[in-house]
């Protein structure tokens, strides 16, 4: 039944044994390698023990809670983190996103949804642009090397933040609605939670802007969405 291994490794952090087992069954069927960790306290240890391509994190955990685990993993690494949450309408989601999670899946979900979310975070958007280097203000984006630099100083962005910046920078002067960004960066076809965009724009600004309070690179267009500021293409 199982597909051939695709070589990707997923860490599942969830205290519910049945759900964790079911998640593993579904993901393994898709060809992923999975590791299960049942508590927040040991999560970091397990995470550091191997190279993971993605983390599935339940927000409600015994011991160290999901948000704290998320923050600690993010401090170490830019690995994609997808939260599982039963309370999608509460502040928990925003807390998780602000702690560095890339996306969330509200419970209950279908196997297809789970797999689609996971793949969206693992697959890189195709390099559609002929330009390899894009300049946004005083920041340069090296598309093929997945690097962002201010002058010669590299700026550490998570893959999601990189995708978000690239999406804006590739179409300078175009204003992106939150829905458009959700579709391009997160892969949501239909209207989804715009809090994802808001939180991640803030995180991105805090890393690339000189003064996040007065952004110059990622501009807000009131009532519509966002656009890149001061973009110039470089061959």
């Amino acid at each position: 039944m199982s597909e051939t291994p695709n070589g990707r490794r997923i860490l599942i952090i969830d205290d519910d044994a049945s759900l964790a087992e079911m998640l593993q069954l579904v993901l393994r069927q898709e060809g992923f390698e999975t590791t299960w960790c049942a508590s927040g306290d040991t999560a970091l240890e397990v995470f550091r023990s191997a190279q993971f391509d993605l983390v599935l994190l339940d927000l409600m955990l015994p011991g160290l809670d999901g948000v704290a685990v998320c923050r600690r993993i993010r401090a170490d690494s830019g690995v994609p983190i997808v939260m599982l949450t039963a309370k999608s309408d509460t502040g928990d989601v925003v807390d998780g996103l602000e702690a560095g999670a890339d996306d969330y899946i509200p419970k209950p979900f279908k196997p297809r949804e789970l797999v689609a979310r996971v793949w969206t975070r693992l697959r890189r958007p195709p390099a559609e642009s002929e330009t390899d280097m894009i300049r946004v203000g005083d920041v340069t984006i090296d598309v093929s090397a997945h690097e962002v630099k201010r002058g010669s100083d590299p700026i550490a962005l998570t893959p999601l933040e990189f995708d978000l910046l690239l999406a804006l920078a590739r179409r300078p002067h175009q204003v992106f609605t939150r829905e458009k960004l959700l579709e391009q960066v997160w892969g949501y076809r239909h209207a989804a939670d715009t809090r994802l965009v808001n939180v991640h724009i803030q995180r991105l600004r805090s890393k690339i802007e000189q003064d996040p309070e007065r952004p110059e690179l990622v501009l807000t267009v009131r009532g519509i969405g966002y656009k890149a500021g001061g973009v110039a293409g470089v061959k």
Binding site: D16, S18, L19, L25, V26, K107, P108, K110, R112
Partner: protein, 533 residues
């Protein structure tokens, strides 16, 4: 006419409208009555006393004057003619009386009177004259008196007075009636002073009483008023409000009772609030807690379903049914959570100005496929102009989906008509089906949670039984209304009306509550339809 009546009623309204006015007014009227009675009695007694004193002194004065008169008359009779002597003696008597203006004298002679010049003879009452004149031919020398009005010939105002009359002259000699008139001008002045004193004292007392009454009324009313204000504040939800308690009197006890009532109320309300909050939290918690196991079941069911084609018939069907019912279970859970959000007042409105026609078109298009499986035709009637309004697209979309799905489910394969309209204040959508309908009395029950028109009828389209309850809450959140009309076997019509601008009132709905297509036999239905337009 009305205005005149209102003006006439104004004093009565003021009287019954103010306790202070009533207390002060009653006290004032009572005080004035008591003062009038007391003053009258006092004045009567004073007047009687003064008059009695005057009469006594008049008698004394008159008898002395009479003695002098008689002795003078006796002496002068010896010396000359009777006429001469009486003239002289009478003149002397008049002159004596004039000293100090104490009394006036009138001596009645057969031909003429000798009297004090300014005295009018009519001041001596004729009844007294008769009495005295009868005594001329006897030896009677008693004094007679009468009260009278003393009149003057020089135009001075007349004053009350006393006339003392007697016959002068000893037996054997000619006897003359002599009258002494005592004006009471001095006594009159004294009485006037007493009256003045009475009036000014009375006024001072009345004013004092009014002030006292006002103070007393205030002392009573202030705590009552503060009790009233406390009660009003309690009613407006300020449960922690209490009345100040001062002293141990009845008013203080009123304050204590009020405060006790307030704290009991506060306690009860807190209890109920807590209970309701717990219940809402419980519903929310249950919906959340069920989610994790449901996710596992969902994943498992879908994995099984993916492979159901390769299963034997029994397992195959089981996998299909399990997945289908899981969808319902999920929908129910989502609706429960939504209801608990409404109950907790945590539902938030995301308003945008949009075209309702556009949304209706989208929702109708999305349901064409479902309608087709039921053989139901969806007929959309849109107005020429757009129907812009402030609304939450997610919520109103959900309301429309709900009404449309209901109509398709209960439409018995007959067409479902959807009409959109707008007026100045509101936009509205009606969804009309020609299916089984429901009893007219159930038009409110349909919005109840888990209500079923026919308990035996199954929900075939996977409705949760909460759809219309949620739709009602969604519309209410917009400040609009959702109404239902139904008749057995004649179908049903649901109407959503929302204000064009959030927070503004709806003057009337642009669409009628009762379907237009009904045969209008009954004037009642017609009247309702027109009133609702």
């Amino acid at each position: 006419m009305d205005q005149a009546r209102r003006l006439l009623r104004a004093p009565s309204r003021a009287w019954w409208g103010s306790l202070t006015l009533r207390v002060v007014g009653t006290t004032l009227i009572g005080t004035v009555l008591v003062l009038l009675l007391g003053g009258w009695l006092l004045q009567q007694q004073a007047a009687a006393g003064i008059e009695k004193g005057k009469v006594d002194s008049s008698y004394a004065e008159a008898s002395t004057a009479l003695d002098i008169f008689e002795s003078s008359l006796r002496d002068s009779t010896v010396q000359g003619s009777a006429t001469q002597s009486i003239n002289r003696v009478a003149g002397a008597a008049v002159a004596r009386g004039s000293v100090g203006g104490q009394y006036y004298v009138l001596v009645s002679l057969p031909t003429s009177d000798i009297r004090t010049e300014k005295l009018d003879p009519s001041s001596v009452p004729s009844s007294l004259r008769q009495t005295v004149e009868q005594a001329i031919n006897s030896t009677d020398s008693r004094l007679y008196s009468s009260s009278t009005l003393v009149r003057y010939r020089d135009g001075t105002d007349s004053v009350p007075g006393i006339v003392v009359g007697a016959v002068a002259g000893s037996s054997g000699l000619t006897r003359y009636p002599v009258y002494f008139v005592f004006p009471m001008s001095q006594e009159q002045k004294t009485l006037g002073v007493v009256q003045q004193a009475l009036i000014s004292t009375g006024l001072a007392v009345a004013l004092g009483m009014v002030i006292i009454a006002f103070w007393v009324a205030r002392a009573v009313i202030t705590p009552v008023r503060s009790a009233r204000q406390s009660a009003e504040r309690l009613a407006s939800g300020q449960l922690a409000d209490r009345m100040p308690v001062r002293g141990t009197d009845d008013l203080a006890r009123l304050a204590v009772s009020m405060n006790y009532m307030a704290s009991e109320l506060q306690h009860r309300i807190r209890q109920l609030e807590e209970l309701s909050r717990l219940q809402q939290r419980f519903v929310a918690d249950v919906s959340h807690e069920l989610r994790t196991p449901l996710t596992t079941v969902r994943l498992a069911a879908d994995v099984l379903y993916e492979a159901h084609d390769s299963f034997p018939a029994l397992e195959n069907r089981s996998a299909v049914l399990m997945r289908r019912e899981l969808d319902r279970f999920e929908a129910l859970l989502a609706d429960l959570l939504e209801i608990s959000r409404f109950d907790a007042g945590a539902a938030e409105l995301t308003l945008d100005e949009q075209d309702l026609c556009e949304l209706v078109r989208t929702e109708v298009d999305a349901l064409h496929a479902l309608a087709a499986t039921r053989g139901v035709e969806l007929v959309l009637i849109l107005p020429d102009s757009s129907c812009d309004a402030d609304f939450d697209q997610r919520r109103i979309g959900r309301v429309l989906r709900n009404l449309l799905t209901n109509a398709i489910e209960h439409g018995e394969g007959r067409p479902v008509e959807i009409e959109v309209a707008a007026n100045q204040t509101a936009v509205a959508v009606t969804v009309r089906d020609h299916g089984v309908g429901f009893d007219a009395n159930d038009s409110h029950n349909v919005f109840e949670r888990f209500w079923r028109a026919d308990r035996a009828r199954a929900r075939s389209l996977g409705g949760t039984g909460l759809g219309l309850a949620i739709a009602m809450e969604d519309v209410r959140l917009h400040g609009g209304n959702l109404t239902a009309w139904g008749r057995p076997m004649r179908g049903a019509q649901f109407r959503v009306t929302i204000p064009r601008r959030h927070g503004t009132p709806i003057a009337s709905s642009p669409l009628p509550l009762v379907p237009r297509d009904l045969p209008r036999r009954r004037p009642v239905a017609k009247a309702i339809g027109r009133a609702e337009k």
